[in-house]
Amino acid sequence: MRLSYIAPRKKSAFTQELQLLLTFFTITLLMIFLTYSFLLFKNYTFVQDRNEKLVEKENIMNSIDAMKVQIAFIEKQKALSEKVYTKNTVLKDSISNLFDLVPMRITLSRAELLHNGLILYGVTPNRDVYNFMLQAPLRSIFHRTYSSFYPTENGWLRFVSTNYIDNEELVDEE
């Protein structure tokens, strides 16, 4: 027996309210998980990037250290070369001064330049010429001066002049 004139409409479990709710649920959960995934991904990339930067920094630091060692070494080379060049120049001036020191009337036959002294061999017409014209300036330069004379056949004197600078002064100079 039919109680109604219209055909019954099919009832679905997904009512409009439920559909709305599910859509809301889906969007909410999607947003939350997407945010979470974004944070996880970003944190991972941050860590990776930071590690890369640290490795890069370490490499740069090593290169800088190596360069600093090289710079220090070049500075050392420069200082040593300048010292050697200066010593050569000073030596040249010293030898030049030594030869300028010898008066015309005295003839040198041999000169020995030592680290702490000077030995001169030569011929002088007489002691006075030697004493006033050579020994006096030598005495002003060296701490200890010794001279010895030997007569030659022509009446002149052969001399050996030994002059030393005390070691303390040499140590100070070095």
Partner: protein, 185 residues
């Protein structure tokens, strides 16, 4: 008393409540700590970037200094690197002497950076000026050479026979090889 809320609405309300509680728990337990970590790591990365830029700048600066120093002292660096050749030395400086003989190279001392070799030289010169010229030329030669005591001058007829010791300074290659390797890298 009969409730006006239908059963279906109660289900929907319960489901909404569950979602709300889940969202709250998830946010406070997971999302917010992760967000805090994100901020910390972002700051750390920025700091690392800033430090790296500073180091890069410092590296460029040091490299500039190094290259400039190297360019300015090229002759000295090459001179320290050069191996002393008595034959070449004689050839270069013979013009200052009537006769020049250079002995074999003997090692005098060596420290971490430099090795010092000694060479004995005998020569004949016309006048002391030749020796002064030689001392000037030695400072411009291919090696770092220091003329050392004792220096002897002896009259030999019209000429002056001279003998002296020279110290040749060069890099101690054994100890420096490791340093240069590290820079090459």
């Amino acid at each position: 008393m009969k409730s006006s809320i239908s059963r279906q609405h109660i289900y929907l309300l319960v489901a909404s409540l569950i979602l709300f509680i889940f969202v709250l728990i998830f946010s406070f337990a997971v999302l917010i700590p992760e967000g805090k970590e994100y901020r910390i790591k972002r700051v750390e990365l920025k700091k690392a970037n800033k430090e790296l830029r500073e180091y890069e700048y410092f590296y460029e600066e040091t490299l500039d200094t190094y290259k400039n120093l190297q360019a300015k002292n090229r002759t000295i660096i090459n001179a320290f690197d050069a191996t002393f050749s008595p034959y070449r030395f004689e050839k270069q400086h013979k013009k200052h002497f009537s006769e020049l003989t250079v002995s074999e190279l003997n090692i005098a001392s060596a420290d971490k950076d430099f090795a010092v070799y000694e060479v004995n030289t005998t020569s004949q010169i016309n006048s002391p000026k030749n020796f002064y010229d030689f001392l000037d030329a030695v400072n411009k030669s291919d090696w770092i050479i220091g003329v050392n005591f004792p220096i002897n001058f002896k009259r030999d007829g019209e000429l002056i026979r001279s003998s002296f010791t020279m110290k040749v300074y060069c890099n101690n290659k054994e100890s420096n090889s490791t340093d240069s390797e590290s820079v090459d890298k």
